[in-house]
């Protein structure tokens, strides 16, 4: 305890130096915490929007549909929609059918991915359909179609126009069917706007010669965190049908999860450089403070302290420096997070147009959200780093020869 007291007093002998060092360490901690929390918030928002438009948090496919995207891997959902819907934490279950085909107007033809959906379920969940009423969406077996705005333009169609969809049915024949443009959707992503075509699931299934079947059962959860808890329950429901597989969104949407991984890895790399620089700064400070007190350390050794004591003293000083930086940095980091959560960063101030990341359109206002365990973890890591920074100065201090140090002026 006395040692900590002494260390604390030593720390403030060179007030400016300690303050500057503290500023560097806590500034870095603040940035790491703040930007992690911002990423955390933005990623959560992206995942949320991504899974709602995409495969859900969890998804059921037949065999390796996820890799092959072969439409022969379709299955009849039977009771699954109701059963999964009753699981705790499940917000919605979306049965979907995907059929690659050709959409033709009188002038043009384009490749499309005909998506058969249940409008009732989809309307509440799918962000692409935000703001649309049920009347604007296709009925289960009607001829209404929701068309991406760019596709509409390329096909030279207007709302209300008819067009033909040609695709290959299960038995290999090319089959065609007439649909009518019922509503138009603009997502902001070119790839989607030029290929989106939503129709009633039953209609699509009958056209493809697989009535009642689907390829994807997207399970949207109320809370992302519930994935771990729901997954085993979902697997239990599927145990009688071994050809069906439950996957997490990270496997089903590798594009999004990898985009997040890569983005996070890049910021981690920057953090590592930052921490490295800060650590070198702390080593410098501690070393200076040891070298400055060369004679004093000689005296402390002369009055009977062991070299180990001196080392502990240096570590104690680093520890206190680390603790103060950890607290200050966390306070600043929390303030920054608070600001980024309450106000956020409005990207519309910096750029125009839609914001897309990893195949997901995201909210132009980036908002942080709190990741307490991480903040705590990185704060303690900072403390650990200042202790690591003390190793070399402590070794130096421990090697001081008292007789020589006492001669020193």
């Amino acid at each position: 305890m006395e040692l900590l007291n002494l260390a604390w007093k030593n720390l403030w002998r060179s007030r400016r130096r300690t303050l500057i060092t503290l500023a560097a360490v806590s500034f870095s901690l603040m940035l790491v915490q703040g930007s992690h929390n911002l990423s955390f918030g933005v990623y959560s928002a992206m995942i949320d929007s991504g899974v709602r438009a995409g495969t859900g948090h969890l998804v059921v496919y037949q065999r390796d549909y996820v890799d092959s995207r072969d439409e022969k891997f379709s299955f009849a959902p039977q009771q699954l929609v109701e059963q999964i819907g009753q699981l705790d934490g499940v917000e919605a279950v979306l049965p979907r059918l995907f059929l690659p085909g050709l959409a033709q107007s009188t002038r043009e033809s384009r490749g499309v991915l005909v998506t058969g959906v249940d409008s009732q379920a989809e309307q509440r969940i799918n962000p692409f359909l935000k703001g649309m009423s049920l009347e604007q969406l296709p009925s289960l077996s009607g001829r209404e179609a929701v068309v991406g705005s760019r596709l509409l333009k390329e096909l030279q169609l207007k709302p209300g126009n008819k067009f033909v969809v040609t695709l290959q049915s299960r038995d290999g024949e090319l089959v065609s069917e007439m649909f009518r443009v019922h509503s138009v959707v603009t997502t902001g992503m070119k790839n989607i706007d030029k290929s989106l075509l939503l129709v009633g699931r039953e209609r699509a299934a009958r056209l493809a010669g697989i009535p009642g079947e689907i390829q994807e059962l997207a399970v949207v959860l109320r809370d992302q965190q519930a994935e771990q808890a729901v997954y085993p329950k979902l697997q239990r429901l599927l145990k009688d049908r071994p050809q069906l597989r439950a996957l997490s969104w990270t496997e089903a949407m590798p594009n999004l999860s990898n985009a997040i991984k890569l983005d996070y890895a890049s910021s981690q790399f920057i953090f590592i450089i930052l921490l490295l620089i800060v650590t070198i700064g702390v080593i410098n400070t501690l070393l200076m403070s040891v070298m400055e007190r060369f004679k004093e350390f000689g005296v402390i050794l002369a009055v009977g302290a062991s070299a180990l004591r001196l080392r502990i003293l240096v570590f104690a000083e680093a520890f206190l420096l680390g603790v103060v930086a950890m607290v200050l940095g966390s306070v600043f980091g929390s303030l920054l997070t608070w600001y980024l959560q309450a106000v956020g960063i409005d990207l519309r101030d910096f750029m125009e147009g839609n914001l897309e990341f990893g195949g997901v359109v995201f909210d132009p206002i980036m908002r942080a959200s709190w990741d307490w365990p991480y903040m705590l973890q990185i704060a303690f890591f900072m403390l650990l780093l200042s202790l690591v920074a003390a190793i070399y100065p402590a070794i130096k201090a421990g090697r001081i020869l008292p007789a020589e140090a006492l001669r020193h002026h």
């Binding site: 050709l102 043009e108 490749g111 890049s266 620089i277």
Partner: protein
């Protein structure tokens, strides 16, 4: 004289100088590396959109790129193409069609580009991404180069027959046979799953559009100067045609590039604030230690301005030294990453967004800005961090300073 004094002074406390230098070197070298890798990703992404598909510029009928209307076609004289020749790395006249492509018993919607193989390979680099078979030959009338995903879906390999069905310009349904010559894999899912290259005359015949084109894709030497080149080209074109650079074709990509410039500055500033605080600390320490010495210098007639200059020169000398080492290390690291790189395909799949694809690899690109920005900012930070201690040194009263122990 002041320079010599400054340089000697920074070596007086060698350990401290070395530690501070190492922080500066680490920050600048790793920054250069890091920016090089980010540029590499960006370049991959841009390349997937331009060098694998659009080219850097597209000449087409006004509005064609908006809706890709089959009827928005044009023809150009050979004179015009020859005019284009000397100014670009390559250009490729193309005709485009959308339709259904069928293999043995599977079919899939595709986008067909009718090209002249020898010209197309000057613009796009699909020949570098062949997975099987070969590129189209100049006189091959019915050959097709298809994406890997598509080949898998249709279960075809080089030598297999394909049938393409679409609507022709005269309203009839056109269909004809193709033979798979090669399969390419770029990592971009959109291209790998739905793009097919065929011979231009074959497609012109099928669509009943003899001699007509939809676009001329152009490749130039400096992609980032595409907009300027497009403006220049515009004046030479008939009014019915337009030139769009990749930024106009892919506004999302242009935003990614713009936001990269912003984030580069943010990263540089963040790292240098931390480095700058370290330098500030070192120079304060070194100035405070030498209080007595400054007193003596001033007592023998050195003016405060000269003392300030001397301390600033010390920081500048240190900054220059750090810069030299940092740039050398940074460039070496970047070169290593440019020629060797790290393959991440074990843990990452290609990531497609904003119209481009980031390949799963760490691969640096050396760009002058990526060296200049960290270098210039480092010097600036050094001078800023030296400013306070220099002022402090200049404000000392000689008498007080000498008395100080």
């Amino acid at each position: 004289m002041l320079w010599r004094l400054a340089i000697r002074n920074i070596w007086r406390n060698r350990r401290r100088t070395l530690l501070t230098l190492s922080a500066m070197v680490v920050s600048s070298a790793l920054l250069i590396l890091c920016l090089g890798i980010f540029s590499g990703m960006l370049k991959d992404m841009l390349a997937s959109a331009t060098e694998q598909y659009f080219g850097h510029l597209e000449i087409s009928t006004k509005g064609y790129q908006e809706d890709r209307d089959m009827f928005a076609n044009f023809s150009v004289s050979d004179d015009f193409l020859l005019l284009l020749q000397p100014q670009v790395l390559g250009f490729s006249p193309r005709l485009r069609s959308f339709g259904l492509l069928s293999g043995q018993d599977k079919s899939s919607p595709v986008e067909l580009l009718g090209v002249e193989p020898e010209r197309e390979r000057q613009v796009t680099s699909l020949q570098d991404h062949l997975q099987a078979g070969s590129y189209l030959l100049a006189d091959d009338h019915e050959g097709a180069l298809i994406g890997a995903g598509l080949a898998r879906r249709l279960a075809v390999k080089p030598g297999d027959q394909l049938v393409f069905v679409t609507q022709a310009a005269d309203g009839s349904i056109g269909n004809d046979l193709l033979t798979v010559r090669g399969v390419f894999a770029t990592g971009d899912q959109g291209h790998d799953n739905g793009l097919v290259l065929v011979a231009l005359p074959w497609l012109q015949q099928l669509l009943v559009l003899p001699g007509r084109l939809h676009e001329i894709a152009v490749r130039i030497e400096h992609p980032l100067q595409a907009a300027a080149f497009a403006a220049q080209l515009r004046q030479k074109l008939p009014t019915t045609l337009e030139v769009l650079d990749w930024g106009e074709l892919l506004p999302e990509m242009r935003e990614v590039v713009a936001s990269y410039d912003v984030s580069r500055l943010i990263i540089v500033s963040i790292l240098y604030v931390a480095t700058g605080l370290g330098i500030l600390n070192t120079f304060f320490m070194s100035v405070m230690e030498r209080t007595r010495e400054f007193g003596v210098l001033m007592a023998v007639g050195m003016r405060p301005g000269q003392v300030r200059l001397m301390v600033l020169l010390e920081t500048l000398a240190m900054g220059l030294l750090a810069l030299l080492i940092g740039v050398v290390f940074g460039v070496l690291l970047s070169l290593y990453m440019a020629y060797v790189g790290i393959d991440l395909s074990g843990s990452l799949t290609p990531i497609t967004y904003a119209g481009g694809t980031i390949l799963p690899r760490l691969h640096a690109v050396l760009e002058v800005t990526n060296v200049l920005v960290p270098a210039a900012v480092l010097l600036l930070v050094c001078l800023l961090a030296g400013f306070l201690p220099a002022n402090r040194a200049a404000r000392m009263q000689p008498v007080v300073a000498i008395r100080e122990e």
